[in-house]
C-alpha cells in the first residue's frame, strides 16, 4: 500500500511529439494518489485513462516524467517489481487451469505456501461467489464468471501496492454490477488498498470512489470528491459530464458581478473585474435553476417537460440555446412560467473552458 505520485508526467506513443494532439497524455500531469484512497478515473473513451492506468502498472513506460511509489522512482521498473494488481476490461483467464488454480496463480508465482494460498483463495471465493465452480476448468465459463475470476485474481494478493481496475464491469450483468461494486467497496474499507478504477460511467465512478479524476483528451481536468465535481466543476466538460442532465453552458460576456447572456443580465455573487465583457461562458446546473414569471431572470420558451419519476426536467430555449432546469416531483409548473432564474451562488464563469475563481463581493 503506497501513495502514488505522478511527477510532470506525459506520454506520446509516437516519438518526437510536437503538438498537444500528439500526446496520449498531455504535458504535464502532476498528481498525488494518496495511500488507501479509492479513486475513479472518469472520462469518455479515448481520453487516456487506460494509458494512465497502464503507466502506473508499468505496462506502458511514459515518454516524459516520473512515477513515484512512496518517493521511490518506479518509472522504468517492470510490472512484476511494482507489486500492482490490475483487472482488465475483458476477462483474462488461464483456460487450461481450474478456477481454483486461476485464483491461486498470482500467489504461487510469488512462492507463497499452499496453506496461505488455500486460505486466500477461499476468502476470495466467498466474496465473488465462485464456490460452485472452483474445481471446474476456466474454459467455457460465462463472461460473468470469467470476469469474476479476473477480479478475484486481482484481489487475491493482500500485500499489493495498489489495485487498478480498467472498466472491469463492462461485461457483467447490470444487477451483478451493483453487487460486485458493493463488494469492491467493502474490500476497500476492510483492507484499505489504494484503488484506481477506470470507467466512463459517472454513476459507477461516483458510487465507488472517494475521489474522482475527470479526464478529457489526455488531460486531467479535475481531481476532487464527487461533491467538488458537482458543486465546483473546474472545467465546462466536468460540469457537463457529471450530473444528469449535465450543467447548462451558455455563451456570455461578464463584467464585474454581472453576466450578460444575450440581452439579459444575470447577477453573480462573485466579481470578475478583469473580464471586460470578453466572450466567456456561464455554467449553471439544472438543479440551480428556478422557474418564474414576470420580469426577473432570463426569458425562455419552454419546449417540453420530461417526468423521469424522481423529478421533472424542463427543457427550454433561450436565444437559440437549449437550457434545462429541474423541478421537484411534487412541484407544479406554473402555466405562465416564462422565465428562468439562476442561483447566483451556483452560477460559474468559464474562460476557454476553465472555471474562473472571481473575487467575493
Amino acid at each position: 500500500m503506497v501513495a502514488i505520485k505522478l511527477d510532470e508526467l506525459a506520454h506520446a506513443y509516437a516519438p518526437n511529439p510536437k503538438t498537444p494532439e500528439d500526446y496520449a497524455l498531455r504535458p504535464s500531469i502532476d498528481h498525488l494518489w494518496e495511500d488507501g484512497e479509492a479513486y475513479a478515473l472518469l472520462g469518455p473513451s479515448g481520453c487516456g485513462k487506460t494509458t494512465l492506468l497502464n503507466i502506473i502498472s508499468g505496462l506502458v513506460i511514459p515518454s516524459h516524467g516520473r512515477i513515484l511509489f512512496d518517493d521511490q522512482d518506479v518509472t522504468r521498473a517492470p510490472t512484476a517489481d511494482r507489486n500492482i494488481a490490475q483487472v482488465f476490461q475483458f476477462p483474462v483467464v488461464y483456460d487450461t487451469m481450474t478456477v481454483y488454480d486461476n485464483l491461486a496463480f498470482p500467489l504461487r508465482n510469488r512462492g507463497r505456501d499452499e496453506a496461505y494460498v488455500t486460505r486466500r483463495v477461499t476468502e476470495i471465493t466467498e466474496m465473488t461467489g465462485l464456490g460452485d465452480l472452483l474445481q471446474r476448468r476456466a474454459q467455457g465459463l460465462t463472461a460473468d464468471a470469467k470476469q469474476k475470476i479476473s477480479l478475484g485474481r486481482g484481489m487475491v494478493r493482500e500485500d499489493v501496492a495498489a489495485i487498478l481496475f480498467d472498466e472491469p464491469l463492462t461485461v457483467i450483468d447490470p444487477h451483478m454490477k451493483w453487487e460486485l461494486r458493493t463488494q469492491l467497496k467493502r474490500l476497500h474499507r476492510e483492507f484499505g488498498h489504494t484503488m484506481i478504477y477506470v470507467t466512463h460511467d459517472q454513476t459507477e465512478a461516483l458510487s465507488f470512489a472517494d475521489k474522482v479524476v475527470v479526464m478529457l483528451d489526455g488531460e486531467v481536468l479535475q481531481l476532487g470528491t464527487p461533491a467538488d465535481l458537482f458543486n465546483a466543476p473546474a472545467h465546462t466538460f466536468v460540469g457537463y459530464f457529471i450530473g444528469s442532465p449535465g450543467m447548462n453552458v451558455l455563451p456570455a460576456r461578464v463584467s464585474g458581478p454581472a453576466a450578460h447572456i444575450g440581452d439579459a443580465i444575470v447577477p453573480l455573487n462573485r466579481a470578475y473585474n478583469n473580464l471586460q465583457l470578453e466572450p466567456v461562458e456561464v455554467g449553471v446546473r439544472p438543479e440551480d435553476i428556478r422557474l418564474a414569471s414576470g420580469d426577473i431572470g432570463i426569458p425562455v420558451q419552454i419546449e417540453r417537460v420530461e417526468d423521469v419519476g424522481r423529478h421533472k426536467i424542463v427543457r427550454a430555449r433561450y436565444d437559440g440555446q437549449s437550457v434545462c432546469a429541474l423541478v421537484a416531483e411534487g412541484e407544479e409548473i406554473p402555466a405562465d412560467a416564462n422565465r428562468m432564474v439562476f442561483d447566483p451562488n451556483s452560477t460559474h464563469v468559464f474562460k476557454d473552458g476553465w472555471r474562473l475563481e472571481g473575487v467575493a463581493t
Binding site: 505496462l59 517492470p78 510490472t79 512484476a80 482488465f88 483474462v92 487450461t96 498470482p106 485474481r153
Partner: protein, 287 residues
C-alpha cells in the same frame, strides 16, 4: 409450408459426382480390384484376402513400416518443438516480422524433387559443401554408402524443408493471442515458462494439432525427396513405405501385393489421423 419437389435438380449435382468419381472413387476401386485378384497374362482370378495376408506377414513390409515410423516420429520430434521455438523467437510486428516470414516461406516454395536434388549435391562427400566440409573436419561421412549418414541427411533435409510449415502455423497461433493475456501474466508475476505453458501453448493447441497432422501425413507418405536423394539406399536403409510400394508395383510388377499394401497404407494413415484428432480435440467439444 410445402416443399417443391423437382427431381431434375439432381442433374445439377452430376458434375461434382463425376469429378469425385474420376479422381477418387474410380482410382481407389481399381486398387481395391487389383488387391483381391490375381492377374496372369490378362487372366483375372479372384484370390480373396491372400495378398493382404501375404503383405501383412512379409518381413520386407515390416522393415519398411519400421523405417517409416522411425523416420516420421524422428522428424515430428524435431520439427514440432523446433518450429515452436523459432515462432516464439520471431518478432511479432514490424519490418523484421515480414522479412522473417518470407525467409521462412522460401523452403516451402521449392519443388520437392528440387529439394532432393539440392541436398543430393550439397551432401556429396567429394564435391558437396556439406559432405566435403564434414569430411574435411575429419568426420567420416558418405551418405551413398553409410546408412547412418544417409538417415541423418534425409532427416536434415526434411527438417530444412518442412520446419517452416510448423513455424508459420505456430506463428499464426501466437499472433492471435490478445495482448491483455501477456499483460495479465506480467501483473500476476508469471515466469516465461508459465506464460508459455498456460497462455501460448493452450492458444496454439489447434494450430499445432493441424501442424502435427499435416507433418504426420506428409512424412508418412514421403516419396520424392528421399527417392531423389538416396533412391532408398544404401541397400534398403532409407526405403520408406512409398518407395517400397513403387519398387513393388512398378519395379516388380507385383500388382496384387502392391495394391493390398496401398490399401493397408491408406487405412493406417487414416486411422492415425483420426485417432490423433479425436484424442486431442477431446474435451474441446464439451464447450
Amino acid at each position: 409450408m410445402s416443399k417443391t419437389l423437382n427431381n431434375r435438380a439432381w442433374w445439377m449435382v452430376l458434375p461434382v459426382l463425376l469429378l469425385v468419381a474420376m479422381n477418387a472413387i474410380i482410382p481407389l476401386m481399381t486398387v481395391v480390384n487389383y488387391s483381391v485378384q490375381e492377374v496372369f497374362y490378362g487372366v483375372y482370378s479372384f484370390v480373396g484376402e491372400r495378398w493382404y495376408a501375404d503383405t501383412l506377414a512379409s518381413d520386407r513390409f515390416h522393415a519398411a513400416l519400421g523405417r517409416q515410423l522411425l523416420f516420421t516420429f524422428t522428424i515430428l520430434a524435431i520439427e514440432i518443438p523446433l518450429g515452436v521455438i523459432i515462432a516464439l523467437s520471431m518478432p511479432r510486428s514490424g519490418a523484421w516480422a515480414s522479412v522473417c516470414l518470407v525467409l521462412m516461406a522460401l523452403p516451402l516454395l521449392i519443388p520437392w524433387n528440387v529439394v532432393g536434388a539440392m541436398w543430393n549435391i550439397f551432401a556429396l562427400p567429394d564435391i558437396g559443401l556439406l559432405g566435403f566440409s564434414l569430411n574435411w573436419m575429419g568426420i567420416d561421412y558418405n551418405y551413398t554408402q553409410q546408412p547412418v549418414s544417409a538417415w541423418i541427411t534425409v532427416i536434415l533435409m526434411d527438417v530444412w524443408h518442412w520446419t517452416s510449415l510448423v513455424v508459420l502455423l505456430a506463428y499464426a497461433g501466437l499472433q492471435s493471442i490478445d495482448e491483455n493475456y501477456y499483460r495479465a501474466a506480467r501483473i500476476d508475476g508469471a515466469s516465461q515458462w508459465a506464460v508459455f505453458r498456460y497462455i501460448q501453448l493452450p492458444k496454439m493447441k489447434r494450430v499445432l494439432t493441424i501442424a502435427i497432422l499435416l507433418r504426420f501425413m506428409d512424412s508418412f507418405m514421403i516419396y520424392t525427396e528421399p527417392s531423389v536423394l538416396t533412391g532408398g539406399g544404401p541397400g534398403n536403409s532409407t526405403t520408406f513405405l512409398s518407395i517400397d510400394l513403387v519398387k513393388k508395383a512398378i519395379g516388380e510388377q507385383d500388382l496384387g501385393n502392391a495394391a493390398a499394401m496401398s490399401i493397408i497404407y491408406f487405412l493406417m494413415t487414416l486411422l492415425v489421423c483420426w485417432l490423433f484428432y479425436t484424442l486431442t480435440m477431446q474435451g474441446e467439444e464439451e464447450n
